[in-house]
C-alpha cells in the first residue's frame, strides 16, 4: 500500500485556479485553506474577495464568499461581521492595489475600529489583473506599464509600508509581514495566518498578515528569478516580522 504524502485541503474547492505559473497566490490560498481546515472553522467562515488578480477567490475558498467592490472589502467585512453571530469568522483577501491604493481609507478605519476581522494582504508590488501598472507598493526604480522609466520618487512618491502604518493604530491587534519565496518562509507564513485567525477567534480585534508575493508575468522575469527578486529587492524594502502582537506584548 502506498503512503499518502499529500492531500488537497478541504479549505479550498476543487476548482483549478487561474493564476499564472510562478505566481504565489495559489500557495497563499492554500495556506489560508489549510488554516481554516485545521482550526475547523470552514463552516463558520465568510470570506470577502476583492478586485484584482484574486477577484475570483470566491470560487476557490470552500466557505461562504462575498465579492466586494475595489478597495471596499474591509467595509463589506465590517458589515458582515457586525450583523452575524459572534462565532462567525470573517476574512478579506486583498492585493496591494486594492488595499493600499483605492482602499486605503477602508483598511485604515477597519483597523482603527479594531474590527474583529482577518485581512490577508498580498503584496506583489504591482497591479496584476490590469496588466502590470505601478502599485503604491512598487519599489523605487521599478519599471511598470505606468512607470516605464522606473518609479521616480519626485514624480510618483515612495512605496507605502502598510504593516508598519497600521501597526501604529491602537485597534490593530496582530500584524505580521511574511514571505513566500522559499519553503522556510512559507511555513512561517502559515503560522502567521493561523495566528491572525486565532486572534479573531479569541475576539482580540483586527489582524492582518501581509504576504510578499510574486508576479513573474508582469515583472517580466521567470518564476525562479521572481522568488529571488522577492528575497533580494522586496524584503529589504519590506522587512519581515511581527509589527503588532497585543497578546504577545508587542
Amino acid at each position: 500500500m502506498m503512503e499518502l504524502v499529500f492531500e488537497r485541503t478541504n479549505g479550498l474547492t476543487e476548482k483549478p485556479t487561474h493564476y499564472c505559473p510562478g505566481c504565489t497566490h495559489g500557495i497563499i490560498h492554500r495556506l489560508v485553506g489549510e488554516v481554516l481546515e485545521e482550526m475547523d472553522i470552514i463552516e463558520d467562515t465568510v470570506g470577502v474577495a476583492s478586485v484584482g488578480c484574486s477577484v475570483l477567490a470566491y470560487d476557490y475558498f470552500n466557505c461562504d464568499m462575498t465579492q466586494a467592490a475595489h478597495g471596499r472589502a474591509p467595509a463589506v467585512a465590517t458589515g458582515i461581521k457586525r450583523v452575524l453571530p459572534k462565532d462567525r469568522i470573517v476574512f478579506t483577501y486583498q492585493g496591494d492595489g486594492d488595499l493600499a491604493s483605492i482602499g486605503m481609507a477602508e483598511i485604515v478605519h477597519a483597523a482603527a475600529r479594531g474590527e474583529n476581522i482577518t485581512v490577508i494582504f498580498v503584496n506583489n508590488a504591482i497591479y496584476g489583473m490590469t496588466g502590470g501598472q505601478m502599485a503604491p507598493t512598487s519599489l523605487v526604480g521599478q519599471k511598470t506599464a505606468t512607470s516605464p522609466f522606473g518609479r521616480d520618487i519626485a514624480l510618483q512618491g515612495s512605496p507605502i509600508r502598510v504593516s508598519e502604518l497600521l501597526a501604529t493604530l491602537d485597534g490593530a491587534s496582530y500584524i505580521e509581514r511574511v514571505s513566500t519565496h522559499d519553503v522556510a518562509s512559507i511555513i512561517k507564513a502559515k503560522k502567521a495566518i493561523r495566528k491572525a485567525f486565532e486572534t479573531q477567534k479569541n475576539g482580540l480585534g483586527f489582524s492582518m498578515v501581509e504576504v510578499l508575493s510574486t508576479c513573474p508575468t508582469n515583472w517580466g522575469i521567470d518564476p525562479k528569478e521572481s522568488l529571488d527578486w522577492v528575497k533580494e529587492k522586496m524584503i529589504p524594502e519590506y522587512p519581515l516580522g511581527v509589527y503588532k502582537d497585543v497578546k504577545g506584548g508587542k
Binding site: 463552516e43 466557505c63 461562504d64 465579492q67 466586494a68 467595509a75 458589515g79 477602508e106
Partner: protein
C-alpha cells in the same frame, strides 16, 4: 401608541425600526443628520447596531456586507453623499441584495446648498451608477406617509432582492407633523436562503457576487433583472389622484412640492379653473396609467419640481404628445411658492377666467 410630534428625519428612522430594520451604517450630512443621531440612540435599544462609517463609500459597502448576511439594513444621506454611494448601489443591484437607501435631497450640483431640492430625480430613477438597472423609488409627501412607505420599502427590497430608495427633501426631513406608528402585519416574504452567513447547517458554500465574466452569463443575469423590473412595474406603482375627475388641467408634483401645489389648486378652483393633480408616489416605476386615463380629456399638464426639469421628462413620455406639458421649477434650494404655482396654472388656462 397615539400621535407623536416628530421631525421628518426622525420619523424615517423610527419607521425603519418599526419595519424591523436593526442595522444602520451611515455618515453625517445636512439636512439629514437628525436621522443618523436618532439611529445611534435608538438601534441599541432594539438590540441592533448603529455604526458611523468613515465615508459614504464605506457606509454603502457595510450595507452591502450586512445585506449579504441576510439582515434588514439601511443607510441614509443627502445628495452629495448619495453620489458617493452610487458605486455600492450598483454592486447591490448586481449582487441582488436588498437594502433601503434614504436621500434627503439638497440643492446641487457639487457641494450645492443645504436647502431642499428635488434635483436627484434623474440619479434615483434613471440609474445613477453604472450598468442597466432600475431601483424602486418612493417619495412621501407627509410624515405619516413615510411610516407606510418605509415598511413597503423594506418589504419590496426583500421580495425582489433589490435596493430601494426613499426620496425626500430637506423640507420633509426638517419639518414636524403628528404621526402615528400603527403596527402592521408582516408581509409574507421568501426566505433569504441565498445569504452568505457561513455554511454551518445550511449546505454548501454560497457566493454573493456581481462579477460575471462570461458575456452570455451576464446577459442572462441582465435579462433576469429586467424580468424582475417588469414585475415591479406591474405590482408596485403608487400614485394619488387629487380632483382629477372633472379636471381640465392637471398639475404633476411629488413630495413636499405636491403639498404646495395642492394649496395652489384650491385657490385656482376658487377662481373657477378646474384643475387637479397627479402625485406620483413611486417615481420608479413611474405611474403612467393616470396619464393614459386623463390625456384624452384634459387640456394641458403642468409639472412642478424643485429642479430644472427632471420628472417632466417622464410626464412627457406618459402623455406622449397628446397634450402640452408645461414645466415650472425652482432650483438651488429655492422652494416654489403657491402663488408662483397659481400664476403658472392661470397662465396654462389662458389667463384669468
Amino acid at each position: 401608541m397615539g400621535k407623536v410630534l416628530m421631525k421628518g428625519n426622525e420619523v424615517i428612522a423610527e419607521a425603519a425600526v418599526h419595519a424591523g430594520c436593526k442595522y444602520y451604517f451611515g455618515y453625517p450630512i445636512t439636512p439629514q443628520s437628525e436621522l443618523v443621531a436618532y439611529m445611534a440612540k435608538r438601534l441599541p435599544e432594539v438590540g441592533g447596531l448603529f455604526l458611523q462609517a468613515e465615508s459614504e463609500v464605506a457606509a454603502i459597502n457595510m450595507v452591502y456586507g450586512a445585506a449579504s448576511a441576510g439582515v434588514r439594513v439601511m443607510t441614509s444621506s443627502s445628495s452629495p453623499g448619495v453620489s458617493l454611494k452610487q458605486e455600492g448601489i450598483s454592486y447591490l443591484v448586481g449582487a441582488e441584495l436588498p437594502a433601503v437607501i434614504i436621500n434627503v435631497m439638497r440643492g446641487g450640483p457639487g457641494l450645492g446648498s443645504i436647502q431642499p431640492s428635488q434635483s436627484d430625480y434623474f440619479q434615483a430613477t434613471k440609474g445613477g451608477g453604472h450598468g442597466d438597472y432600475q431601483i424602486p423609488v418612493f417619495a412621501p409627501a407627509t410624515l405619516q406617509e413615510i411610516v407606510d412607505l418605509m415598511q413597503d420599502a423594506f418589504d419590496i427590497a426583500d421580495r425582489y432582492r433589490t435596493p430601494v430608495y426613499i426620496l425626500g427633501d430637506g423640507m420633509l426631513g426638517q419639518m414636524m407633523e403628528p404621526v402615528e406608528f400603527t403596527e402592521r402585519k408582516a408581509a409574507e416574504l421568501p426566505p433569504k436562503d441565498w445569504a452568505t452567513t457561513g455554511t454551518r447547517g445550511d449546505g454548501g458554500p454560497k457566493i454573493t457576487n456581481s462579477l460575471r465574466l462570461d458575456p452570455d452569463d451576464l446577459e442572462k443575469h441582465n435579462n433576469h433583472l429586467q424580468e424582475k423590473y417588469s414585475k415591479i412595474k406591474e405590482n408596485e406603482v403608487r400614485f394619488e389622484n387629487y380632483l382629477t375627475e372633472d379636471a381640465d388641467y392637471i398639475v404633476v408634483a411629488y413630495g413636499t412640492v405636491s403639498r404646495i401645489a395642492k394649496n395652489a389648486i384650491k385657490k385656482a378652483r376658487e377662481k373657477g379653473i378646474k384643475v387637479g393633480m397627479i402625485r406620483p408616489i413611486s417615481l420608479w416605476p413611474f405611474p403612467e396609467k393616470p396619464f393614459y386615463e386623463t390625456r384624452e380629456n384634459v387640456k394641458a399638464y403642468l409639472t412642478v419640481e424643485m429642479s430644472a426639469g427632471q420628472m417632466v421628462e417622464d410626464v412627457r413620455l406618459a402623455v406622449n404628445g397628446y397634450k402640452p406639458v408645461h414645466f415650472y421649477g425652482r432650483t438651488g434650494g429655492m422652494v416654489p411658492s403657491q402663488e408662483d404655482i397659481l400664476a403658472e396654472i392661470i397662465k396654462m388656462a389662458g389667463g384669468d377666467q
